[in-house]
């Protein structure tokens, strides 16, 4: 067959934020989605496959939401770079622009820009189920004629109109590709010159290259500016962009004057009423605090049931494989390395799922924007923006998507400070460490009748995280000598009932990405640590049995105690024991022994490795009692010199604080490097946070011991 017969249509889904673009994407692709993630963990560009009429297949790309093709953030750059580079392997055959019927005027601005790229374009008018309630009527044939496109009236909430989109996609060859207005009319002389100098290029594309700071493959800005008559100052360019925007709105207003009628009597909605309560100077904060409490309650209280179950199941599974598989190195690797390692990842799932569930509901409903509005003035005092609230709250799930969500902060200085301090917030990777340490050192009792003391401690650690973030933001705000104009533009979307499907898919996808990303690291490290712990150099390791049993004080010991001594001796002389011993002088003042030292070193890759590492070390180091959970093993650890418990209150408190403040996440450092485009800032994070953690833990231990 002929090669030009396209069997797989590439579709780009484009639209303003809050237009239900992702809902449309979910309808088109169902569960056939792939999430392209950053090397670390999280989402950048989503693609999905879509079944079209007549057996045709489509690949849908859900591009980040953008207000226009004038990029002001990295997310928006993704859209422009793709749409301007015809040689990109993802360059779409057809563009689908999603708009919200209640914000049609504003949403059409982006549409007119996409049309200027002379790409087959479909206009989706979403949320059509609200038209009647809002008194909106549309003249579709008229709009199609003036906007030079085909329109699909869709309700992603009700699932209607999706087939119309698919029909239009299959027949994309019939879509008009000419622009719907002549934007170059704002400066005819300039644009005519441009057209004559680059006759083979699309005029609007040239204009975008001149005004944007992004890479467009072969067409470079320098090349255009070599011809000095096209070089303009930033202020001049912005003035022209303003003219362009006005011109586009004039066109849109004219089109909508006839194409859209709104019955204003019906336009009143519950937005104003809800805003009055949710942004109220007292109730607003009370409600916000209540929601935060609910989130934390769910994290440590509701998710503890499935977590205990997972913990015990994995302990049982490990002992089952140990007793039922033929003894040998492979069995040891499975029961002591791999199973505890996987258990350390799986145990996260309930907490992560709860966190992403709440965050996704808050964003979907439109409430998050009200929090941004409510908090801006307070956050500004710390050198942050109201929009920093979103990263700081999302940071309780994972710092990586949180740092990426700082992208919509317009002011570079506020954005940088947000990125730098977000890792202080208590991410879910710290939770297993906190959970296990708290259960070891804080008694399980009630205070004042209703508060669980362990729960309160966890709450305190969360507050400490936020406190650390705010304090360091305040310090950075004093130190950083960055001058930047204070820009803050936050859209306040209409309130919506979150769609179960959207929230569910979001939780599923984020949890999956997290478990897969963190899982690989944890699994690999567990295996490495198991290997280093069960092998060692020289005589001391290989002849441990002989050496220990020949020591005079051990001659009279019963057999099982002797075996314990042998395994302990072996562990101390293994590779990992030698490594741990060598760093012991540095961590001894904080109250840690060399085993904890190994766990800390290995958790520099990712914090959650801490528990898994200790599990592996203690597993190797114990000869009997297979059924014990990680917690029991830790509780049983005794200092061989003093005879006291290793995880006593002073050591536990010092460890908790160390994990609260130290920067122990390679993925976060990598994302900070990526977002700030410099190694300077992640290094400041690493040294600043870890140094602070060391000092705080040192003081705590020395004071409490």
């Amino acid at each position: 067959m002929a090669a030009h017969n396209i069997l797989n249509i590439k579709i780009a889904l484009i639209g303003n934020p809050n237009t239900g673009k992702t809902s449309v994407f979910n309808h088109l692709t169902g569960l056939n989605q792939q999430v392209g993630n950053y090397p670390g963990i999280t989402v950048e560009r989503k693609t999905g496959s879509c079944k079209l009429p007549n057996g045709t297949k489509g690949t849908v790309m859900d591009l980040p939401g953008t207000y226009s093709l004038n990029a002001s953030s990295m997310d928006e750059n993704v859209v422009i770079e793709l749409l301007l580079n015809k040689n990109d392997k993802d360059y779409p055959d057809v563009a689908v622009v999603v708009t919200d019927v209640e914000n049609l005027k504003r949403n059409l601005l982006l549409f007119t820009q996409i049309k200027d790229l002379e790409l087959p374009t479909i206009l989706v008018i979403n949320m059509s189920d609200r038209m009647e309630k809002k008194g909106i009527a549309l003249d579709i044939p008229y709009l199609e004629k003036l906007l030079k496109t085909r329109i699909a009236l869709v309700s992603s909430r009700k699932g209607t109109g999706i087939d119309t989109i698919k029909e239009l996609i299959v027949n994309y060859g019939a879509l008009p590709t000419e622009p719907c207005l002549n934007a170059s009319g704002i400066d005819n002389e300039y644009f005519n010159g441009l057209r004559n100098a680059f006759p083979n290029q699309l005029l609007y594309k040239l204009w975008l290259v001149i005004t944007q700071d992004v890479n467009f493959g072969q067409l470079e800005r320098k090349e255009i500016e070599r011809n000095s008559s096209f070089a303009k100052s930033k202020a001049e360019l912005k003035r022209m962009q303003q003219k362009e925007t006005i011109k586009r709105y004039q066109f849109i207003n004219d089109v909508l004057k006839t194409g859209q009628t709104i019955d204003n009597a019906k336009a009143n909605d519950i937005r104003a009423k809800l805003d009055r309560v949710l942004t109220h100077k007292v109730f607003g904060y009370v409600i916000f605090l209540g929601i935060l409490m609910l989130i934390f309650q769910s994290i440590f209280s509701w998710s503890s049931i499935p977590m205990d179950f997972i913990d015990e199941s994995f302990a049982a599974l490990a002992s089952y494989t140990d007793t039922h598989l033929p003894p040998g190195k492979l069995t040891d690797l499975i029961s002591q390395g791999i199973i505890p390692g996987i258990g350390g990842v799986v145990i996260f799932i309930p907490q992560i799922a709860f966190l992403f569930l709440f965050i996704s509901i808050l964003e979907e409903s439109g409430y998050m924007s009200r929090v941004v509005f409510l908090m801006d003035k307070i956050m500004k005092r710390f050198g942050l923006s109201g929009k920093s609230v979103v990263p700081l709250i999302s940071g309780t799930a994972c710092a990586i998507p949180a740092i990426m969500s700082a992208r919509n902060i317009e002011n570079w200085r506020e954005r940088l400070i947000t990125i730098l301090v977000t890792p202080f917030t208590t991410c879910s990777a710290r939770l297993p460490v906190y959970t296990i340490l708290i259960s070891l050192i804080i008694p399980e009792k009630m205070v004042l009748g209703i508060f669980n003391l362990q729960g309160l401690t966890l709450m305190l650690l969360y507050l400490l995280g936020f406190g650390g973030a705010l304090l360091s933001a305040w310090i950075l705000n004093k130190i950083l000598k960055l001058k930047h104009k204070s820009f803050f533009v936050a859209e306040m979307p209409n309130y919506k009932l979150p769609l179960f499907k959207n929230v569910g898919l979001n939780v599923l996808e984020k949890t999956k990405a997290f478990v897969a990303g963190a899982g690989k690291i944890i699994l690999a490290l567990s295996v490495i640590i198991w290997f280093l712990g069960s092998h060692g150099p020289g005589e001391a390791f290989s002849n441990a049995t002989k050496i220990v049993s020949h020591q005079p004080e051990n001659k009279t010991l019963p057999e099982n105690e002797l075996n314990d001594k042998i395994t302990a001796y072996q562990l101390e002389n293994s590779y990992i024991g030698i490594m741990g011993k060598s760093i012991e002088p540095v961590i001894r003042p904080l109250g840690y022994d060399w085993k904890i030292g190994v766990a800390i070193v290995s958790s520099f890759a990712a914090r959650e490795v801490f528990v898994g590492t200790l599990a592996t070390i203690y597993n190797i180091g114990s000869s009997g009692e297979d059924e014990a959970t990680i917690k029991q093993r830790m509780d049983n650890e005794v200092d061989p010199i003093t005879g006291k418990k290793i995880f006593n209150f002073a050591t536990g408190a010092s460890l908790l604080l160390f994990y609260a403040f130290a920067m122990q996440c390679i993925s976060t450092l990598a994302i900070t490097k990526k977002e700030t485009n410099s190694w300077k800032w992640p290094m400041i994070q690493l040294i600043g946070m870890s140094g602070f953690a060391y000092v705080v833990s040192l003081i705590t231990y020395q004071f409490l011991k």
């Binding site: 914000n103 504003r106 509005f373 859209e491 306040m492």
Partner: protein, 79 residues
Amino acid sequence: MKTTLAALKKGQKAIITDLNIDAVPLKLLEMGCLPGNTVELLQVAPMGDPIYINVNESHVAIRLETAREIDVEFIPNSL
């Protein structure tokens, strides 16, 4: 009466007459904050800043320092 957007009271409407192009972000212009358009002040945040406006059917929050760069003319009796 001529003044800036920062002087608007809650519920009051005005028409944008001019704006300082260097101090107003392009994104706000793209949302329809342009000369000739009507703007209404919907809410003021608890500590007086930022403000929450409806301009050109865009509902958006901006800081007072930006609002001061936008000249408006009150629509009489709009309160």
